[in-house]
C-alpha cells in the first residue's frame, strides 16, 4: 500500500512526513521524526509514557494513527520548554527530585502541563486522578504530586 502524506504542526513547526497507514503516531514520532522524548512503555495505552497533546488534548500517542494528525496541532515533550526557559512543571520536577530513572518523566511533564492548562489550581486529589493514566514505578508518586502542586502555585503567582 502506498504511504500516506501527512501535514501537521509539531511543537509550533510545520511538519510533513510519509507513513504507513497502520503506523502509530508514537512510531512516527520516534522512528521517522527522531522525536525520541516520547517513550514507549506498553504500546497499549496503559502507561502514559507516550503522552502528547493533540489539539491541546492529552492522548497516548501509541493509540493514535499517525495519519490522524493531518492538519492538527501536536505538542510533544520536546516542545514544552520555551527556548531556554523550562516550563514550571519541568523546573519543579527538578527541584522536587520528582524523577528517578526518568523514563516516565516526559509523559508526566506533558500530562501535568495539560492539567495546569485547564485547571490552574488543582487539589491533590485532582492531580492524582488526572495523572492516574501515567505509570511511574520509581517514585511512589509522592514527589511528582508535590512538584505539580508547586508548579501550579508558582504559575498562579506569576501573571501570564
Amino acid at each position: 500500500m502506498a504511504k500516506l502524506h501527512v501535514q501537521t504542526t509539531i511543537n509550533g513547526e510545520p511538519t510533513e512526513f510519509l507513513c504507513e497507514p497502520a503506523e502509530t503516531l508514537l512510531e512516527v514520532l520516534r522512528n521517522r521524526l527522531n522525536l525520541t522524548g516520547t517513550k514507549e512503555g506498553c504500546a497499549t495505552g496503559d502507561c502514559g509514557a507516550c503522552s502528547v497533546l493533540l489539539n491541546q488534548r492529552l492522548v497516548p500517542s501509541c493509540l493514535v494513527l499517525a495519519a490522524e494528525v493531518d492538519d492538527k496541532d501536536l505538542l510533544t515533550v520536546e516542545g514544552v520548554a520555551t527556548g531556554a526557559t523550562l516550563h514550571p512543571v519541568q523546573q519543579k520536577f527538578l527541584e522536587h527530585a520528582a524523577l528517578q530513572c526518568g523514563v516516565c518523566t516526559p509523559g508526566f511533564v506533558v500530562a501535568a502541563k495539560a492539567l495546569l492548562d485547564r485547571n490552574p489550581n488543582p487539589t491533590e486529589h485532582e492531580v492524582r486522578y488526572w495523572l492516574a493514566g501515567n505509570l511511574c514505578r520509581c517514585t511512589g508518586y509522592d514527589k511528582i504530586v508535590r512538584a505539580v502542586l508547586d508548579a501550579a502555585e508558582s504559575m498562579r503567582s506569576v501573571p501570564a
Binding site: E20, R30, N31, L35, T36, G37, T38, K39, E40, G41, C42, A43, T44, D46, C47, A49, T76, V77, E78, V80, A81, L86, Q90, F93, L94, E95, H96, A97, L99, Q100, C101, G102, V103, C104, T105, P106, V109, E124, V127, R128, Y129, L131, A132, G133, N134, L135, C136, R137, C138, T139, G140, Y141, D142, K143, I144, V145, R146
Partner: protein, 751 residues
C-alpha cells in the same frame, strides 16, 4: 565513629542529568539508532513446556528485507560462569534462556530470531519461522513441581546443597539449604504460645517502565559495540563474551540511560542475539522487547510458599522459630530462596531456629533479582506471625519487636555478628511518630512491620580528574537509576571543597573506566561512593603535593582545608593556595591531576526499616486502599536526602502493589492471562496517599561517611504492614497475597 560535619553531603542539589530527562533529550535503550540499522524480532514459544523437534527458517530467510535468521544451534551451550560475591551467573543457563536449545521451558521462551530492514518485515518474518513442538505437561507451582509424578524440566538437574536423604534423583528441586541454631524442640517446649501459618506470595514483576532494548554493531574485524539499557555494562560485556566465546576485550558496552531495573536488568536477554544477528547480516541490529515480552520473558521474582512457626514466652520473648521456604525459580535454578532464609529472622534475637529453603524449577520465566530478592516474601511470613502473636498476647506490636530486636554484637542468622545497626532506632522512631498514635476512621486498620536487607559491597572503580579551571569530572561505571550521579558529585565536592555544580559526573562505557559490578545490591552509593571518595582524596593529595612543590616544603606540611592548600602550624606563613590557583598551575607543577581508586569492600552495613500502614477496607466491594503510610529507615548517612526519600517511597509503592493487586495469573496450560499493565495492576497516583518518610542515620563504620545501602530495604516491610493493617481492620489474618477484592470479599463471607 566521630561525628563528621559536612558541607555538601546532605544537601539537595538538582541532579546533573535531570534537565535532559525533563526535556526528553535523555537517551534510553530504545532511543538509539545507527545508519543502516536492522530491526530484530524474537520468535517465542507459545507453549509453557515443549520439546523443540524442528525449526524451519527457510520461508523467513526467503522474504525480501530479511538479512539474518538465528536459532539456538548457532549459540552453542557453554559451561562458563561469571563469578560474583552473590554466587555468580551460570552462563549455560543464561544462554539457554536466551535462545532455547532442546526445550521451550515457559511461554515466551525465545526459540529463534530474525533481523530485517524494518520492524514490520522482521515481525512478519518471525511469523514464518516454523517451529515443530512436542507439547509436554507444564509444572506451574512448587506443589506441582514437587509431586511424586511431576514432569521434570531438566533431566540432568541435581539438587545442590542439602537434599533430604530420601529425595528422588529425578527432581525439580534445584537446591535445598538449611540454617540452624540451638535446639528448636526444646525451644518450642519452653514456649507459652506457638503460632504457625503457611503463607503464599505470587510471582510479581519489577514493572520498570522501559522495556529491554539494545543495539549491536560488529565490525569486519570482529570488534563488537553494544548500546544497551542495563544495570551493569560490565555484566553485559562479560556475559556476551562468555556465552559467545569471545574475548571480553573485543566487546565494548555503552550503557544508555536506564528506565528502571530493580534487579530485572541484570541478566542479558537480547544483547548476544543482537550481536550474532549483526555479525551474520554485517549490519547493526536493534532489538526491543514489547511489554508482552517483558512480562512473559524477562525475569520477575518468585512466587513462594512459606511455613512459619514462632514460639514465644508470655512476655513476648521469642524462644524458637522454624520455617520452610519454597521458592519458584522459574525455568532454571536460582531463586532467591537462600536469601529469603537468611533474611526471615535477621531482625530478631532467636536462640533456637531451624530454616529450610527450597529452590524449585517450574515452567515460568527464570526469575531475576527484584529489590532485596527473597526477603519480602519470607519477611511477610515472619512479620505476620509476630503480629498475630502480639494480638493473642495483647502486646503492643512495636514493643514486641523492640523486646526481640537484634542489636550490635548479636549474631545474624546467616553468620556474622552485627556491627552498629539501626533496628531499635527505627522502631523507637515509629513508636514516637504521630502516625502511630493518630486515630483511625471507620473500616480502617493499622499495621506495622520490620524489614532487613544485607546490602552489598563488591567491586567498584572511579576516576576523578581536575580541569585547569578548577572544575572536576568524576567517572564511574554504574548506570544511574535513581540519582547516584549527583550523589557521587556531592562526594567529590565534599572532599575537594568545590560546589557540586562544578563537578561533572559521568557513567562510562566498559572501555573508559575500570571494572564495576552492577548497579544493584544497594551498593552504588556505598561501594562506588567509597571509590569516588578515595579517587577525590587522591586528587587532593596530589594538590597538596603541588602546593608543597610551590612552597618548597614537604607534602605532609600541607593540609587541605575547604578547597585550599594551607601550611600546617609552624611550617611557614604562606597565604593559602586555592584549588583554582593550583589547578591553573598544573601544567607547570607536574602535569595533569588524575585521581583513581578501585575498591572491593567485602561487607556492607545491614539496613533495617519499619513501615506503618493504615488501610481502609470497603466491606461491600472488598476494595482496600492505603490511606496513610510512613516509611522509616536507617540509611547510615543520606548523601542526597531527596533521592533517599525517593527510594523509600518507591519501594513502599512497589510493596503496596505486591500486597494488594499484583500477581502473575496463569491458566492450566501455563499461559499468562494478564501480560499487560491493564490487567497486571501496578499502583497509579490515585491509588496511593503521600508516603511519609523518616530518615534515621546510624553511621555505618565501614564507609567514610557512614553510608548504608538504601534502595532495597524499602520493599521488605510493606507486604506484612499492609496485611497486618488488614487484620486490624477486619479481624482476619490473610496469609495469601495479593489482598485483591475477590479474596477479601470471600474471606468476609460474601460470595
Amino acid at each position: 565513629m566521630s561525628e563528621r560535619s559536612f558541607t555538601y553531603v546532605g544537601t539537595r542539589p538538582i541532579r546533573h542529568d535531570g534537565l535532559d530527562k525533563v526535556t526528553g533529550r535523555a537517551n534510553f535503550g530504545a532511543d538509539f539508532a545507527l545508519p543502516g540499522m536492522l530491526y530484530g524480532h524474537i520468535v517465542r514459544s507459545p507453549h509453557a513446556h515443549a520439546r523443540i523437534l524442528a525449526i524451519d527458517t527457510s520461508a523467513a530467510e526467503a522474504m525480501p528485507g530479511v538479512k539474518a535468521v538465528l536459532t539456538g544451534r548457532e549459540i552453542p551451550k557453554t559451561d562458563a560462569k561469571i563469578m560474583m560475591a552473590e554466587g555468580g551467573f551460570d552462563l549455560g543457563d543464561m544462554g539457554d534462556n536466551l535462545l532455547a536449545h532442546d526445550k521451550a521451558l515457559y511461554q515466551g521462551h525465545a526459540v529463534a530470531a530474525v533481523a530485517a530492514t524494518s520492524p514490520e518485515i522482521a515481525r512478519a518474518a518471525a511469523e514464518r519461522v516454523v517451529v515443530t513442538y512436542e507439547r509436554l505437561a507444564p509444572v506451574m507451582n512448587v506443589d506441582q513441581a514437587m509431586a511424586a509424578d511431576a514432569p521434570i524440566l531438566h533431566e540432568d538437574l541435581v539438587t545442590k546443597g542439602k537434599p533430604l536423604p530420601d529425595a528422588p534423583k529425578r527432581t525439580n528441586v534445584a537446591m535445598r539449604m538449611e540454617l540452624r541454631r540451638g535446639d528448636i524442640d526444646k525451644g518450642f517446649a519452653e514456649s507459652d504460645l506457638i503460632v504457625e501459618h503457611t503463607f503464599t506470595t505470587p510471582m510479581v514483576h519489577q514493572g520498570y517502565i522501559e522495556p529491554h532494548a539494545c543495539v549491536a554493531r560488529v565490525g569486519e574485524d570482529g570488534q563488537i559495540v553494544v548500546w544497551a539499557s542495563t544495570q551493569g555494562q560490565f555484566i553485559v560485556r562479560d556475559a556476551c563474551a562468555g556465552i559467545l566465546g569471545v574475548d571480553a576485550a573485543k566487546i565494548k558496552v555503552i550503557p544508555s540511560e536506564i528506565g528502571g531495573g530493580f534487579g530485572g536488568k541484570i541478566p542479558v536477554y537480547l544483547e548476544p542475539i543482537a550481536i550474532v544477528l549483526a555479525r551474520k547480516a554485517q549490519r547493526p541490529v536493534k532489538l526491543v522487547m514489547s511489554r508482552d515480552d517483558v512480562f512473559k520473558a524477562s525475569g520477575p521474582t518468585s512466587g513462594t510458599r512459606v511455613r512459619m512457626k514462632i514460639g514465644v514466652k508470655q512476655d513476648g520473648t521469642i524462644v524458637a522459630a522454624s520455617a520452610s521456604l519454597y521458592y519458584e525459580a522459574g525455568a532454571y535454578r536460582g531463586s532467591p530462596a537462600g536469601a529469603g532464609a537468611m533474611c526471615c529472622l535477621a531482625s530478631y534475637k532467636v536462640p533456637n531456629f531451624f530454616i529450610e529453603a527450597y529452590d524449585i524449577v517450574v515452567n515460568r520465566p527464570k526469575v531475576a533479582a527484584y529489590r532485596a530478592p527473597g526477603s519480602p516474601s519470607s519477611t511477610f511470613a515472619t512479620e505476620s506471625v509476630l503480629d498475630e502473636i502480639a494480638h493473642r498476647l495483647g502486646l503492643d506490636p512495636i514493643e514486641l519487636r523492640l523486646k526481640n530486636a537484634a542489636s550490635e554484637g548479636d549474631q545474624a542468622p546467616y553468620g556474622p555478628k552485627y556491627g552498629p545497626i539501626g533496628l531499635a532506632q527505627v522502631l523507637e522512631s515509629a513508636k514516637n511518630h504521630p502516625h502511630w498514635k493518630a486515630p483511625l476512621g471507620p473500616n480502617q486498620g493499622r499495621g506495622i512491620a520490620c524489614g532487613f536487607w544485607f546490602n552489598a559491597g563488591f567491586n567498584s572503580s572511579a576516576v576523578v580528574s581536575l580541569s585547569g579551571d578548577g572544575s572536576a569530572t568524576v567517572v564511574t561505571g554504574n548506570p544511574d537509576i535513581g540519582g547516584t550521579r549527583v550523589a557521587q558529585a556531592l562526594m567529590v565536592s565534599e572532599e575537594l571543597g568545590i560546589p557540586v555544580e562544578r563537578v561533572r559526573p559521568t557513567v562510562a562505557d566498559t572501555d573508559s573506566i575500570g571494572y564495576n559490578d552492577l548497579t544493584g545490591g544497594s551498593r552504588v552509593c556505598y561501594a562506588t561512593g567509597m571509590a569516588v571518595i578515595k579517587a577525590a582524596d587522591d586528587v587532593r593529595d596530589q594538590l597538596r603535593a603541588r602546593a608543597a612543590t610551590i612552597w618548597n616544603v614537604k607534602p605532609e606540611q600541607v593540609r587541605w582545608d575547604a578547597g585550599r592548600a594551607v601550611l600546617v602550624e609552624g611550617a611557614g606563613d604562606q597565604p593559602p593556595l586555592t584549588l583554582n590557583e593550583l589547578a591553573a598551575k598544573m601544567a607547570h607543577t607536574g602535569g595533569p591531576i588524575v585521581g583513581r581508586a578501585a575498591v572491593n569492600p567485602p561487607m556492607a552495613g545491614p539496613g533495617f526499616a519499619v513501615n506503618i500502614c493504615d488501610l481502609e477496607v470497603d466491606k461491600e466491594t472488598g476494595v482496600s486502599r492505603v490511606t496513610r503510610f510512613t516509611a522509616i529507615q536507617d540509611v547510615g548517612k543520606a548523601i542526597h536526602p531527596s533521592f533517599v526519600e525517593g527510594q523509600m517511597q518507591g519501594g513502599a509503592a512497589q510493596g503496596i502493589g505486591w500486597a494488594l493487586n499484583e500477581e502473575y495469573i496463569y491458566d492450566e496450560e501455563g499461559l499468562m492471562q494478564n501480560a499487560g499493565f491493564l490487567d497486571y495492576r501496578m499502583p497509579v497516583a490515585s491509588d496511593l496517599p503521600m508516603i511519609d518518610t523518616v530518615i534515621v542515620e546510624v553511621p555505618n563504620p565501614l564507609h567514610p561517611y557512614g553510608v548504608r545501602g538504601v534502595g532495597e530495604v524499602p520493599i521488605v516491610p510493606p507486604l506484612a504492614a499492609v496485611a497486618n493493617a488488614m487484620r486490624d481492620a477486619t479481624g482476619i489474618r490473610f496469609t495469601d497475597l495479593p489482598l485483591s477484592p475477590p479474596r477479601v470479599l470471600e474471606a468476609l463471607g460474601h460470595d
